[in-house]
């Protein structure tokens, strides 16, 4: 059905947008920069393909006048999701252009900010591209060539968004959200497991993490104490019997 396809495509676009934002935040800092530029380029291209696909699908669905009211409301909601994703993507692309221009890679002494991030962003990009491993094959002047491409792509995206606004008459503020406040907590059941045991620099955090750790440690210690007492009682009883018998 059209709706399911739309939803899966929107999910994919959402994922790529999120990964793109992670990558742009790492730009200009000491994380892996040559590969980072290539990752940015690839993620961007993928985002654009998804965007075009989504747009054609949604415009065709919304132009259809023969759909029911609930369907139309649902498509409008998907439309708002799509346009918000595109806005975020456009903003991130513009920002990456500016930062990319400010921090060139091909100069004799690179001036990159020591932010403390040293790891690579390979895994994030792999998640965006839905591949297992990323292969890097770009040539060395990727930063300047890429920036020109980036400028043209930004104009493309802005045109696309303007066209979208013109063609489809959807009032974004009339859409009602399906999720209520705090919905993000329910969708992540496995959140707690990975963060227990983290001790970070920031002072507020250790209080929280230690609290979690202490609670678990408390249970374990209570069990250990109980077992110990049971063993002591058994030993006493046996000793008493031995003394009685002898």
């Amino acid at each position: 059905m059209g709706k399911e396809e739309c939803k899966t495509m929107l999910d994919a676009l959402n994922k790529v947008t999120a990964c793109y934002r992670h990558l742009v935040i790492a730009l200009g800092s000491t994380s892996d920069s040559q590969n980072l530029r290539e990752e940015l380029k690839r993620t961007r291209k993928k985002a654009q393909e998804l965007a075009v696909a989504n747009r054609t699908k949604l415009t065709s669905l919304l132009k259809d006048k023969t759909i029911s009211k609930e369907d139309r409301a649902e498509y409008e909601r998907l439309w708002v999701l799509f346009s918000s994703s595109m806005e975020l993507l456009e903003v991130d692309m513009k920002r990456s252009l500016e930062i990319g221009q400010d921090f060139p890679l091909k100069v004799p002494t690179r001036h990159l900010i020591q932010t403390g991030m040293t790891g690579s962003t390979t895994t994030v990009a792999a998640r965006a591209m839905s591949v297992q491993n990323m292969k890097y094959e770009a040539d060395s002047n990727i930063d300047t060539a890429d920036l020109r491409d980036l400028q043209s792509e930004i104009t493309q995206v802005s045109h696309m968004m303007e066209e979208m606004e013109m063609k489809v008459q959807v009032a974004p503020w009339a859409v009602e959200a399906k999720q209520e406040a705090g919905a993000e907590l329910k969708s992540n059941m496995s959140v707690g497991n990975s963060s227990v045991g983290v001790i970070s620099i920031c002072e507020e955090e250790p209080k929280e993490e230690d609290g979690g750790g202490n609670r678990d440690a408390g249970f374990a210690s209570i069990c250990a104490v109980l077992v110990f007492f049971v063993i002591v009682i058994v030993a006493l009883v046996l000793g008493y019997l031995v003394i009685n018998m002898s």
């Binding site: 999910d11 959402n14 994922k15 947008t17 999120a18 990964c19 934002r21 992670h22 742009v24 935040i25 790492a26 730009l27 200009g28 000491t30 909601r77 708002v80 999701l81 918000s84 994703s85 975020l88 920002r95 500016e98 930062i99 921090f103 001036h111 900010i113 020591q114 932010t115 403390g116 991030m117 040293t118 790891g119 962003t121 895994t123 994030v124 792999a126 998640r127 974004p172 503020w173 009339a174 009602e176 959200a177 399906k178 999720q179 406040a181 705090g182 919905a183 993000e184 907590l185 969708s187 992540n188 959140v191 990975s194 983290v198 001790i199 970070s200 620099i201 920031c202 002072e203 929280e208």
Partner: protein
């Protein structure tokens, strides 16, 4: 502002509990700045510059993240990534903030700080149409973040938190990005002055030259005298007792200084002794003065002054009737509350009252005011009424709120008394006062006494 310090600045690689590589200490930063700026006084300029760096968000503190200052000791800081710099003047959007709060909600398992929770609820209400998108993005960004290594994840969290501390500061955090409403006019733009404006400016300045001026020694002396009298009563210069409501969100000060409070504060009573004008403009002081005058049986001056004020500020339709009552009560020969003003003023006023306008009683009112100032006011200040109220006046203790109490005060702010209720109270009091102090009709009293006889 390109960061060129990473090569030049020799900062040490501190290894904290999880090995996060690049942190700098506050005193290293300040020493480097002082060195670069070649200032001999290391303290002030470098410290201020360091504070600015933190307040704008180029460097963020790791330990006390709500206090955006650069401490000149071993507190740890780190550089912020260029995406989060304020240089490019990118607007920090509300939808981005909503995504950040949702991510933080996931991370903290629902335990957001109170100001964050307030923002979250507010954004949920106003960005409701985008809320699905916000939730989806937040979960996706969280999952994508988990793909990175542990130290990077921690650094990223710190970075984002610092960015939003700058752009959405909680109460009492002073970030440099806090700005008030934008002006409509840009003050630094040169505006073109037309010929007509120049002509009018010339006429104004020529007239100003021809006016008679006060000598600066005299006017400056008056200014100095004013400042010395009032400097303890200015809330900007001296601490306001019990506490300034704008700073501590506790309205004790306003409640103690209301219009119809029984016991005024000491500062208020002291202010009444400065001049008759202060005494009369503060309505509570005027009440006190009235009590004193009643004892002395010389209330007609003040009553006339009040009646003239009412005429000045009242409605145009009621002016004729008011003027007539005033004439009958105060100015006519043999009137029940006849005021004692000199013949010339009396003649002018009576003539003016034939065609009354708003300022017809101005001359008489000034004369009466001067009479009160020169004579009655000083007697009032020496009277037992005033000394009594001085003794009774309250001197409230200054408040000393802890940050938690301040937070609570801020949350329990409510609207004060509704102005309509205050107005109704005023009307009731006025009616009571009018009934109680009806002009003593001497003739009626005399006739009563006669009849009794």
């Amino acid at each position: 502002m390109q960061d060129s310090k990473s090569g030049i600045k020799g900062s040490d690689q501190k290894l904290n509990v999880t090995t996060i590589p690049y942190v700098i200490t506050g005193k290293d930063v300040i020493a480097w700045i002082a060195n670069k700026m070649k200032t001999t006084v290391e303290g002030l300029a470098a410290q201020v510059f360091g504070n600015m760096l933190v307040a704008y968000g180029y460097i963020y503190p790791l330990q006390n993240h709500k206090k955006l200052v650069m401490c000149n000791d071993n507190t740890l800081y780190r550089f912020q990534t260029p995406y989060f710099w304020p240089t490019q003047k990118w607007v920090a959007e509300d939808s981005d903030y909503a995504i950040y709060l949702a991510k933080r909600n996931i991370r903290k398992k629902g335990m957001l700080e109170p100001y964050e929770q307030a923002h979250y609820n507010h954004l949920h209400k106003w960005l409701n149409h985008k809320w699905d998108f916000i939730v989806m993005q937040a979960t996706e960004q969280y999952k994508a973040g988990k793909e990175r290594k542990k130290p990077d994840r921690v650094v990223f969290d710190c970075q984002e938190r610092a960015y939003w501390m700058i752009n959405r500061p909680p109460r009492r955090t002073h970030s440099a990005m806090d700005c008030g409403p934008d002006r409509l006019i840009d003050p630094s733009v040169e505006e073109k002055i037309t010929f007509d404006q120049y002509r009018r400016m010339n006429i104004f300045y020529q007239q100003a030259i021809m006016r008679s001026k006060v000598k600066s020694s005299v006017s400056l002396g008056a200014l100095v005298k004013y400042v010395t009298t009032y400097k303890n009563h200015d809330a900007f210069l001296a601490p306001c007792l019990p506490s300034n409501p704008w700073q501590t969100d506790s309205d004790a000060y306003w409640n103690l200084n209301m219009r119809r409070v029984d016991v005024p504060t000491k500062m208020r009573v002291e202010r009444w002794s400065f001049s008759l004008f202060e005494l009369l403009t503060d309505l509570r002081g005027r009440d006190d003065f009235k009590i004193f005058l009643k004892k002395e049986f010389s209330g007609e001056n003040l009553a006339f002054w009040e009646a003239a004020e009412e005429l000045k500020w009242g409605t145009a339709s009621s002016m004729k009737t008011k003027a007539e009552t005033i004439f009958k009560t105060f100015l006519a020969p043999g009137a029940p509350r006849w005021i004692n003003i000199d013949g010339r003023t009396m003649g002018l006023t009576v003539k003016g009252l034939e065609h009354p306008h708003r300022y017809v009683l101005e001359a008489a009112q000034t004369h009466v005011f001067l009479l009160m100032k020169k004579d009655t006011f000083f007697r009032y200040l020496k009277s037992p009424v005033y000394k009594d109220i001085q003794k009774k006046a309250l001197n409230p203790e200054p408040h000393n709120f802890s940050p938690a109490q301040l937070e609570q005060n801020a949350q329990s702010r409510g609207p004060g008394i509704h102005p309509i209720i205050l107005w109704q109270q005023e009307e009731e009091e006025k009616a009571k006062a009018a009934a109680a102090s009806a002009p003593v009709d001497v003739k009626a009293m005399m006739s009563k006494i006669d009849r009794k006889k």
